[in-house]
């Protein structure tokens, strides 16, 4: 009997069909892992193909633009043969002429000119005009071009053409940060009046921060009230939070437009009470104030709900214990209650900040001129100016900031702890 036990302890454990137990367990775990993954796979692929990859492709446009390079084979060859700084001689103009003749035939002068125009303003017409007369042009080409327009001798234009002759570029990131290259290729800030993007990015960050702060400040008492009231009353008041949450964003934005207009309900009310007179109606919408008020209202439920679910788990006896040990109500709140709500403050605050950064519709409708955010500018470059590469560069920068905060959210709160309603 003892012999047998000793024997068994040395031999590896096996399953009924004689395989080592460890291997059998590992195999069964692998099977279960594969099964779990197969359940997730269809959705994962769907999101990957229809969402992640398209965004990646879009962002690629910020460093890749072949609007010019695809149409200037001869010029590209000349730029390859002559390093930067070499004199722009007759051969360069001859190459330019050959490409322009080709552009005229394919009607691509506008496309090519647009790409250089992003770099040096006012050059698009240079290309379209030159392409129009290209076929009739006689050598020597340098003189012919300079006679057509003196700008063709501008080293800055040639610098821009050399840079655009390669489809890969960082120029759009320079533009998105209010920088540009001068004639020597050095990076310099754009003139004061043209610098818009950094300012707008900064405004987006400050507006989002302000909105987050206001949301936390006014969401906190409501979450506290809901968490401490008896269940039945709390459920009733919860409707006040959940109804806005379930109401269409456009409806809520419209409602604020109606309320805040100069001829709207709130101004009428103020005039009626006598706080302001009829001439002193306050402009509360189509400016930053409109954006802040409407977005705070829309995002407030996203702060209240996480705060509420954290406060719900804080036993009221802790504060009572603090009081019984001699703490004033303020000290009990500050030293005992507040620290326990911090997970909720983090979750609600970060979520609101992340969502606020990317807001588009509300600022577009109620923001006026100074209440616009970076998203509105991305939309402008996508739909109006059609400078997709610049839009992509701005989008990439916004996305990086958002993803950094998403990563922090995951660190502090955990993605799987996210809850709605």
């Amino acid at each position: 009997m003892t012999d047998a036990t000793a024997d068994l302890s040395h031999a590896p454990l096996t399953t009924a069909d004689g395989r080592p137990l460890k291997a059998a367990l590992a195999e069964s775990l692998a099977v279960r892992r594969r099964r779990a993954f197969l359940l997730v796979a269809p959705l994962f692929l769907f999101i990957l193909i229809s969402f992640i990859v398209p965004i990646g492709q879009m962002l690629l446009k910020s460093v890749y633009n072949d609007g010019f390079s695809a149409h200037v084979p001869a010029l590209s060859a000349w730029f390859d043969a002559n390093p930067p700084g070499s004199a722009i001689d007759e051969t360069a103009y001859a190459a330019l002429h050959a490409d322009l003749v080709e552009m005229k035939r394919n009607k691509t002068a506008g496309v090519a000119g647009t790409r250089v125009n992003y770099d040096v303003a006012g050059t698009r017409s240079l290309f379209t005009a030159a392409a129009r007369g290209a076929e009739k042009m006689e050598p020597p080409y340098k003189e012919a071009f300079l006679k057509l327009d003196k700008k063709w001798g501008d080293p800055n234009v040639w610098r821009a053409m050399r840079s655009a002759a390669s489809p890969f570029t960082m120029d759009f990131y320079l533009a998105a940060n209010d920088l540009k290259r001068d004639a020597e290729g050095a990076i310099v800030p754009v003139p004061e009046g043209q610098a818009v993007y950094k300012k707008l990015m900064l405004r987006t960050l400050t507006l989002s921060l302000e909105i987050t702060a206001i949301c936390l400040l006014i969401g906190f008492p409501i979450a506290h009230l809901l968490a401490t009231l008896p269940m039945r009353k709390a459920m009733l008041l919860m409707i006040f939070v959940l109804l806005p949450f379930w109401t269409s964003l456009l409806v809520r934005t419209t409602a604020w437009m109606v309320l805040l207009q100069q001829q709207g309900v709130l101004n009428d009310l103020l005039v009626w009470i006598g706080v302001i007179d009829d001439k002193g109606r306050i402009q509360m919408i189509y400016n930053q104030m409109g954006t802040i008020i409407a977005m705070t209202h829309i995002l407030l439920p996203f702060t209240i709900l996480p705060l509420y679910s954290v406060m719900k788990t804080i036993p009221p006896s802790y504060v009572r214990a603090a009081r019984s040990l001699g703490a004033t109500s303020w000290t009990a709140f500050r030293r005992v209650y507040l620290p326990q709500t911090l997970p909720g403050v983090g979750a609600g605050g970060l979520l609101v900040f992340i969502l606020a950064m990317g807001y588009y519709i509300t600022p577009a409708l109620v923001g006026g001129a100074d209440g616009q955010m970076i998203s509105n500018l991305i939309a402008f470059h996508m739909q109006k100016s059609l400078n997709w590469s610049l839009a992509a560069a701005l989008a990439a920068q916004l996305l990086i900031v958002v993803l950094i905060f998403f990563w922090i959210y995951d660190r502090i709160v955990g993605i799987d702890k996210m809850k709605l309603g």
Binding site: P42, F240, L242, L243, V258, Q261, Y359, A395, V402, D416
Partner: protein
């Protein structure tokens, strides 16, 4: 919440200030939504309460904005309101058309995201799931990525010619999804998925796995155990996730602006146009109807949540 008996006068004062503050904040939350309802019955084309409305004079109220919603876009808006009129309304009225579009897009997008999302949530909540965090992050991303970036990416993706199809002459060709209903439906399905994942995984994490083991010990095979035991119990969560996805689609305008063709208007897109061009009180009538829909949705979700809690009984929260 009641004030303790030992509270000092200062604490009492603070307590009532706090209650007043809370009341004001709740007013801030609900007032904009409530205010559009009476204003939509305004007899005048103003966005404020007229004197007649304030004195509750019936002449100050009218259904004219609702009437303009009905007749807008109809061929014969002046016709007598008999069957032919209502047929015209059903076939041609703009708001009916956009509602149809929104409902069709919303229903199919919801079916896709709720179906795929529930299956994925089942996998994600299994303890042996590999790379759970990373995959969840990817699946949640449509909610986090700014909508303008998502819409732009989708615009390029759905404008690409990679869909096999047949042209007018019956020859094979590569088509694009932009400007088609399947394109918008797929885009909205992607945007709705985070809500399904979040809601269903929350439900599943509160699900008592021993119930499945109990079913198995009583002789149920995995399929029976899933369909007869687990599925009915997580159904409320799936339905509320689906409702979230539906509302997301029903309320979505940016992706539609980028992907849809000009004749593919939805309710939010029509509202967006209305607000941007010339805002008329008819928009408030639409808003009122949408508020009623959201009240109905909120009620359904609340009932589902209660049912889910009851079904779970004393199981771990």
């Amino acid at each position: 919440m009641a004030l303790p008996v030992y509270a000092s006068p200062l604490e009492k004062l603070w307590h009532y200030t706090y209650l007043v503050l809370c009341a004001l904040i709740l007013l801030f939350l609900i007032a904009p939504i409530i205010i559009v309802i009476p204003l939509s019955f305004n007899a005048e084309p103003y966005f404020t309460f007229t004197e007649k409305m304030m004195t509750l004079d019936p002449a100050g109220y009218s259904l004219r904005w609702y009437d303009s919603l009905i007749t807008f876009g109809m061929q014969n808006p002046e016709a007598p309101r008999v069957i032919a009129f209502w047929w015209d309304f059903w076939e041609n009225a703009t708001w009916v058309q956009v509602t149809k579009h929104s409902v069709i897009i919303g229903v199919f997008a919801t079916l896709i995201s709720a179906g795929l999302g529930t299956v994925a949530a089942l996998g994600l909540t299994r303890p042996e799931m590999p790379w759970r965090k990373q995959i969840t992050a990817v699946l949640i991303s449509p909610m986090i990525v700014p909508i303008i970036i998502s819409a732009t990416g989708m615009f390029f993706f759905y404008s690409g010619q990679w869909v096999p199809g047949i042209d007018a002459q019956g020859r094979f060709e590569w088509g694009r999804l932009a400007g088609t209903y399947p394109g918008i439906i797929l885009a909205h399905a992607a945007l709705g998925i985070p809500f399904v994942i979040i809601t269903v995984t929350a439900t599943l994490s509160g699900f008592d796995q021993s119930l499945v083991r109990a079913a198995a010990s009583l002789g149920a095979n995995p399929r029976t155990a899933f369909f007869r035991v687990q599925m009915p119990l997580i159904m409320p969560g799936v339905v509320s996730g689906g409702l979230f996805a539906f509302v997301t689609s029903f309320d979505e305008v940016v992706a539609v602006l980028f992907i849809a063709a000009n004749d593919q208007q939805t309710i939010p897109r029509q509202m967006w146009n209305g607000i941007r061009e010339q805002i008329s009180p008819a928009i408030l009538a639409v808003a009122t109807l949408l508020v009623i829909i959201s009240v109905a949705l909120l009620t359904v979700v609340e009932l589902l949540r209660r049912r889910s809690e009851r079904l779970r009984g004393v199981s771990p929260a």
